[in-house]
Amino acid sequence: MTKILMKGNEALGEAAVRAGCVHFFGYPITPQTEIPEYLVKRLAQVGGTFVQAESEIAAIHMVMGASGVGVRCMTSSSSPGISLMAEGMSYIAACELPCVVVNMMRAGPGLGGILPAQSDYHQATRGHGHGDYQVIVLAPSSVQEAVDLMGLAFELAERWRNPVMVCADGMIGQMMEPVEFADGDGRGPPMPPNDWALGVREGRRRRIVNSLYLSPEELLAHNRKLKAKYDAIAATERRSELDAGAGGYDVLVVAFGTMARICRTAVDELRAEGLRPALFRPISLKPFPYPELRRALDAIDGDGPVLAVEMSMGQMVDDVRLAAEGTRRVLFHGTAGGVVPSPDDVAAEIRAALGAAVA
């Protein structure tokens, strides 16, 4: 394996093809347009199909159609475009179809701006459209991790027959870093045989992809089936990382995506001064790693606080509070609008949190 210097967006496109994705439907929007731009050329090389849809609403429903006939497919967009896809996400989840959706988050609300943000956390983890459904949400913090999680996303989508969202901020998309791809012929495996995809019947039992249940009892049973699936996902698909440092910690910083890397630099600088912060990074935002975070919270020395840092006005901090269940003081630092907190800003917040812990 050799390292290649690639932009995050292009690396995501390559990773999708190597995961066996053969159909892409999308509509351009900054800061993710390099994904479709890359896939226009790349999908042609593997006999795949690229469609620039007339809108994001059309794109997500094309994904639904392709997935319904058992084609490995995806779409990508950025925040306002994801909002337009909300209806389709609900339908795809209801029909239990696998697909991957990339959200290269930009600053909102509304049309907002094109600079990086993490302010779609609530949207990603609490559902986009209506109804009791969930999607799996993965948050990379480097270009290499974006590549790795893209492969995982297709795997999980098919394992659970559920949409998987790769949720990154615009910095991941625009940044170049060295990446390695697993050896192979540059194309992924075909979709394995299944018992749900539509197609020519050839004597088998009729298959139906549907989300309309007019019988309340049948719809309740469907909801219970989905809930059991989401519970199983929550039990088995949590992913996170804890850097506890050596010899205990007095404050726990929680951050995901690029923000976690900015916090990493701040934590390293403070450790060099003899302070004792630790860093917890959720990798799966849904399912959120509540048990892992709770264990990390319980291990803070004394009554030290937890500090959530986000490129938003405070969204993931709600999950930190849920994990803490009132056992820790939960502090928050965040910015919005595409203004990214610097390592110095974060270091000052950690210092203040430690000062408050001592006082």
Binding site: Q174, M175, M176
Partner: protein, 190 residues
């Protein structure tokens, strides 16, 4: 070496992003961790364009920095905005083609480069960014000079291969200026 970083800043079209990319390629070829983070705001359209390149022997934390080990500035707005953010003892490489004032950072090594003249003498006036990259590399030796030259040949390959020699010459002209400035600064300190 644990790590270093440099901010390349100028007008859109001056080739700052490419200069950063060549440095990133050279560092990667040397086995270093590297990140290349461009500004991608609306400011790119006719305004300033900049890129932060981090190089390290360990995984890189924040790819976004507010203090820099070095600055390569090709216009006055970039110098004024970013010179105060260079760490004490850092390196400031400025292009005298468009920048006539002093950065007022006596605590830094300042490398003044007549990029347009040197690029013209090297045979390709557009290679002013390569002169600036050379001055940075010659002053800091953040990566081996040969690795950057390999990256230049990688960028100017195939149909563009005929541009490679002049771009390498421009890079080398910059290296000499960077090395001289550091030697002169060392002489003053001695």
């Amino acid at each position: 070496m644990r790590g270093t970083d440099v901010l390349f800043a100028g007008f859109g079209g001056q080739g700052m992003l490419l200069a950063g990319k060549l440095l990133a390629h050279a560092a990667m070829a040397e086995g270093l961790e590297v990140s290349w983070l461009p500004s991608y705001g609306p400011e790119m359209r006719g305004g300033t364009a900049n890129v932060t390149v981090c190089l390290a022997s360990e995984p890189i934390g924040s790819p976004l920095l507010t203090r820099h080990a070095a600055l390569v500035a090709m216009n006055l707005p970039s110098l004024e905005k970013f010179a105060p953010r260079v760490r004490p003892g850092g390196v400031i490489v400025l292009d005298t083609t468009l920048i006539e004032r002093d950065p007022e950072r006596p605590d830094c090594t300042v490398v003044r480069v007549d990029a347009r003249r040197l690029a013209r003498e090297a045979g390709v006036e557009r290679a002013q960014n390569l002169v600036m990259l050379g001055a940075y590399a010659g002053a800091t030796h953040a990566v081996p000079l040969a690795a950057v030259e390999t990256a230049i040949h990688g960028e100017f390959s195939g149909e563009k291969a005929r541009f490679a020699p002049a771009n390498v010459a421009a890079f080398r002209a910059g290296v000499a200026v960077g090395a001289d400035a550091v030697a002169a600064a060392a002489g003053r300190d001695a």
